[in-house]
């Protein structure tokens, strides 16, 4: 009955909770047993009344009936609690695993999928599965046990009735399985429409300011319409198909009732059944219908669940980078960085299919600082992404401390390198968690010392709860510069041997930039811990401390050499930049000279 992907998920996420599962099974069996007993009491009651039995015997039956009913209910409540809890525990584990897997997926994957879409995968689809875990499996097993019990007890009364209703049940089940696959298709379409709608909304909500300042409200509402329509039409179809599915056991069971009516009448006239027994058969017939109807209604959930399982599998099967084995050892501390004839094109035709980097080679000594210049889109950021192995270059080799980075473990590589990017991401979490990125074991003293060094001490003191204060959504109330300083603080806490500053100070005013210059000085100061640095900048002031300079143009190296040499060479591009009389460049001259 259960398809393999479902079974794999069940085993993987329910095994850790086997004791709860066993408890649930016990409750389930007890509840079913009590359900089967009640019709027997009613049969006894009717036959006693019809046969002129004593009033006290009738009263005893009625009281027994009530007692069983109350017990059955208590069991049902315990069952609900256990099942809900189990469902949440199991699916929360799945959510965490999926989120983990998502974070491990390559950046190319994330460029192709919006956060809204992935939230729908990790949370929306898994919630559908939670329902599947806590209801479907439970009711499936409960219904199966009830079905078997009813059929066995019917055989006991008359084998003809038992056989007829067994056949009816089998036909109903087989038909259900047949139509199931049809329904999955419609449910899948509806879920896709839902994911598309929320992907669209997610981006627009994030861009509210942009939409308003362009006066594009009407346009965005117009663009919403196709998404609403797709969801409306696909969901309505899925609903209708679900209902048709539901009617299948109904139709087959109508045939069952016809048989029960006819057989009951005939057995009674033949004298082989009492009126109480005919009533008992009717009751069991009614009980037989319920588990099968449940199969049908759960089949609706099963369709959504199947669709969800398919999508979850698709997500969890997306390949992550596999670490080389055995992994090469990367040294702690400053390391040399070498690009050897690296050419790279973004996957999926990104950046118009032409290489973002072409035949780039350079060698940066351990402990030295490389300044990279170039206009926007010249490949500066790509270079740092490749070094971090966020993307893989197929052509050429990148070495860290002489080791091909493809030979090293990704975790080791990232331990060696710290990055400050222009975009600073903040979480709706405490300041401490934002700085440590939830990594435990970093002492508060160390965090506060780093904030103090970066000139954020006063800022921290403005919060009553200190490091425990929550930053609001998207870092609201924090200026871009403060956010940038927090990003620096993260790198300081990380304390890597190689640091990449990617346009890190471009959004800061000169006054605040001084604070960061000071921080950068500390990062690269000769008497402190030695670090290799790569500073990607548009401005000459930021690379004043560079030992070497590399100028990129359209993915190619236009110029590369020691800063002092290039600055002194009147034919060099750097020299032109430094001595430019143009107003824009004087700014750099002022700082650099």
């Amino acid at each position: 009955m259960l398809l393999k992907p479902h079974r794999d998920l069940l085993i993987r996420y329910f095994m850790p909770h086997w004791h709860r599962t066993v408890l649930l099974a016990v409750l389930l069996l007890a509840g079913t047993g009590l359900q089967l007993v009640t019709p027997q009491i009613v049969r006894h009651f009717i036959d006693t009344a019809q046969g002129g039995g004593s009033t006290s015997a009738l009263l005893r039956s009625a009281v027994l009936f009530l007692g069983v009913v109350v017990l059955a209910q208590a069991v049902a409540v315990a069952e609900t609690y256990t099942a809900e809890n189990l469902g949440w525990l199991a699916t929360n584990a799945l959510r965490a695993d999926l989120a983990h897997h998502c974070l491990d997926l390559p950046m190319a994957f994330h460029n192709a999928h919006t956060p809204g879409e992935l939230i729908e995968r990790i949370d929306g689809d898994v919630s559908t599965l939670a329902h599947f875990f806590s209801r479907f499996v439970l009711q499936l097993i409960g219904s199966a046990v009830l079905l078997l019990g009813v059929l066995l007890l019917l055989y006991r009364e008359a084998w003809q009735v038992g056989l007829a209703l067994t056949l009816i049940s089998v036909v109903a089940l087989v038909t259900l399985n047949r139509v199931r696959s049809v329904g999955t298709r419609y449910a899948l379409a509806a879920r896709q429409a839902s994911a598309d709608l929320f992907g669209f909304l997610e981006e627009r909500i994030a861009g509210l300011v942009d939409i308003q300042s362009c006066g594009a409200q009407g346009y965005i509402l117009r663009r919403l319409q196709p998404y609403l329509r797709a969801l409306f039409q696909s969901s309505r179809t899925a609903f209708l198909m679900g209902s048709v599915l539901w009617s299948v056991p109904s139709a087959i069971f109508t045939l069952g009732w016809v048989l029960v009516f006819a057989m009951g009448a005939s057995f009674y006239r033949a004298g082989s059944m009492s009126i109480g027994t005919v009533y008992l058969v009717f009751q069991y017939m009614a009980m037989l219908r319920r588990p099968l109807e449940q199969f049908a209604s759960e089949a609706q959930d099963f369709q959504s669940a199947s669709a969800s399982v398919a999508r979850i599998r698709q997500l969890s099967m997306s390949p992550t980078l596999v670490d080389a084995s055995p992994a090469a050892i990367l040294p702690v501390g400053p390391a040399s960085v070498e690009f050897d004839d690296v050419t790279f094109t973004y996957p999926g035709g990104e950046l118009h299919g032409t290489p973002a980097l072409k035949h780039v080679s350079f060698h940066l000594r351990a402990g030295a600082v490389l300044g990279i210049l170039g206009r926007t889109g010249s490949g500066k950021t790509t270079l740092s992404r490749l070094l971090l192995r966020l993307y893989e270059s197929e052509v050429g080799t990148i070495r860290l401390a002489g080791v091909d980075i493809r030979q090293a473990r990704l975790a080791d590589l990232h331990r060696c390198i710290g990055v400050v990017t222009q975009e600073v991401q903040l979480f709706q979490a405490t300041i401490r968690e934002n700085l440590t990125l939830f990594v435990p074991g970093i002492p508060d003293d160390r965090i506060m010392q780093v904030l103090e060094e970066l000139g954020l001490g006063a800022w921290l003191n403005s919060f009553a709860a200190g490091l425990d204060s929550e930053l609001s959504a998207r870092g609201g109330g924090l200026s871009a510069g403060q956010a940038q300083l927090l990003a620096f603080a993260r790198v300081f806490l990380h304390d890597p041997g190689v640091v990449i500053l990617d346009e890190a100070s471009s959004r800061l005013d000169p006054a605040t930039e001084q604070l960061i210059e000071h921080a950068v000085d500390t990062l690269f100061r000769p008497e402190g811990r030695r670090r290799t640095g790569i500073i990607i900048a548009h401005r000459l002031s930021t690379i004043a401390r560079a030992d070497d300079i590399l100028i990129l143009e359209d993915g190619r190296i236009e110029e590369y050499g020691a800063r002092s040499e290039l600055a002194g060479d009147s034919r060099s591009h750097l020299h032109t930049l430094l001595t430019a009389r143009d107003a824009t460049y004087q700014e750099y001259v002022h700082v650099s000279s």
């Binding site: 009913v69 016809v258 009126i275 939830f438």
Partner: protein, 614 residues
Amino acid sequence: MSAASFSGGTPGTARRSRTATLSFIVAVLRFSPVLFVWCLISATVVFGLPLAAGLVLRAFFDALSAGMLVGTHIWTLIGLFVAVEVADIVSGASLSFSWGSLLFKSLALLRRNLLRELLSGHAGHTLPEASGGTLSRFRDDAEEVVEFIDRWTDLFGRTFLVSGAMFVMLRLDARITLLVFVPLAIIITLVNLAQQRIIQYRAESQQAVSRVTAFLGELLDSVQLVKVAEATPHVIVHFRRLNDARRKAALHDRVFSQLIEAFNSNVVNLGTGVILLLAGGSMRRNTFTVGDFALFVTYLAAVAQWPLEVADWLTGYKQAGVSIERMLALLQAGSPTPVDEVVLVTPEPLYLTGPLPSVQDSQVARTRQDSDQLCTLQVTGLTYHHPGSGRGIERINLCLQQGTCTVITGRIGAGKTTLLAALLGLVPTEAGEIHWNDVLVEHPALFFGPPRTAFTPQVPRLFSETLKDNVLLGLVEGQADLNGALRSAVLERDVAGLDQGLATLIGPRGVRLSGGQVQRTAAARMFVREADLLVFDDLSSALDAETEQLLWERLRPDRTYLIVSHRRAALRRADHIVVLKDGKVEAAGTLDVLLTTCEELQRLWSGDLTPVPS
């Protein structure tokens, strides 16, 4: 600073009347009256059929025990029974289809109106949660409200069934009927007493859901950061914690509802037990037949669902109220005036079937009027503080003349971006007035925008659409100077370099643009709007020197500019400079004057940060 401070401060909460949810639902229904009536009719048939089934069953057992069941009689009864079952299947499909249509049509209306209102409020005001949490208002809260309608149709059909069943049973045996329904009445009362707790559990549960989705959203926005910091296992630990909090909240919520439900369904069996206790004597005397018993048990099962349906309705009513509140709180956070929930149910053409209107028709282009033409923009006493940090701007005065370039500068945290946000109505101001050509601007959020103003935020967002659609954002291609805008934004070389040029898909799902390209695309988006006043927040921050120079050179001299920047090139270009410090205007004037008189500007200009002795 946290989400709680927003929901606590929502002015709409206290004034909400008891009937507000009801009239809200009625307004939703009035949008699709035909579908709703169709649903009601289908539900009446679906729910009414067990009445007929019970009568057939009674006839069968009575005929059987009287020994009268022969040939044609039995087949007539069986035929009737089959007819009931067939009617059940057909009416069930009809109900599914009509309900599915009603559900998703109403959802479409709510979601569209929610987005429309979100778009017309103060966009820059921090949303209650990150966008993942906002998304759950669109998804879960909208569904909660609309699914409440399902309980109406169920209750309607069930009430029809109950009336019919009571009528039949009272005529058969009034004593047993009344004695059986006493426990039902007690249960209804108990359930209603328990209702109050559900609201609280539900609110807590939904809050926990929002925390999870919000964090997930932030996480997926920060993949590179988390990867490089090798923090994945640790952020997952935090994610697990949030999930576990949600499990507990959901357990409270669900188990409590289930407890009430179990209590209700228990009534069937209890009722059967009561019938057994009462009917013994009459059955021995045959004044209460086995057929009567069969009918009573059948009807009891159907009737006993009624209190459950009522309880569901009441629960749904309160849960829908919570969800309406949450949607309103989202809008309230960005609204200058109290938000009326009517805006969420305003009828709108949804085009769920048939041809879609063209994109052009939807963009009601505001025709330029003479009064739009900027002469002077006067800002007096503008004040705003961020709700969390308390930082902001205080009593800012500013005057822009047509055709001039004004640069706002100052160090980090001086309030430059906040000033723009307050001026353009992206956040609600606390005090101050804005005059456009000497006319007071009542609602900056509604007033500012093309053709009066256009704005490029500090961190622009692009959408997963083509480059052209991102720039035009709804403008008609032939009526806008697209090439001119691309040139002004110094983007023409980048466009030429793209394989598919303007048709290239960009944004989160498309081609990755560099930070500078994103900024210049946003600038093109601003230039193409031909607004009188162009406002840039730190536009050149991701631009290299050459590109920045070109950008400043290409600015059209006939426009008015308000620019936040600390770059020398911008300061040189300025006709007027306003220096902000700690949220107040420190000095204002021309560069030459300020360089000699304003210490703060001198410091910004030279990048010197030696502390000033006090």
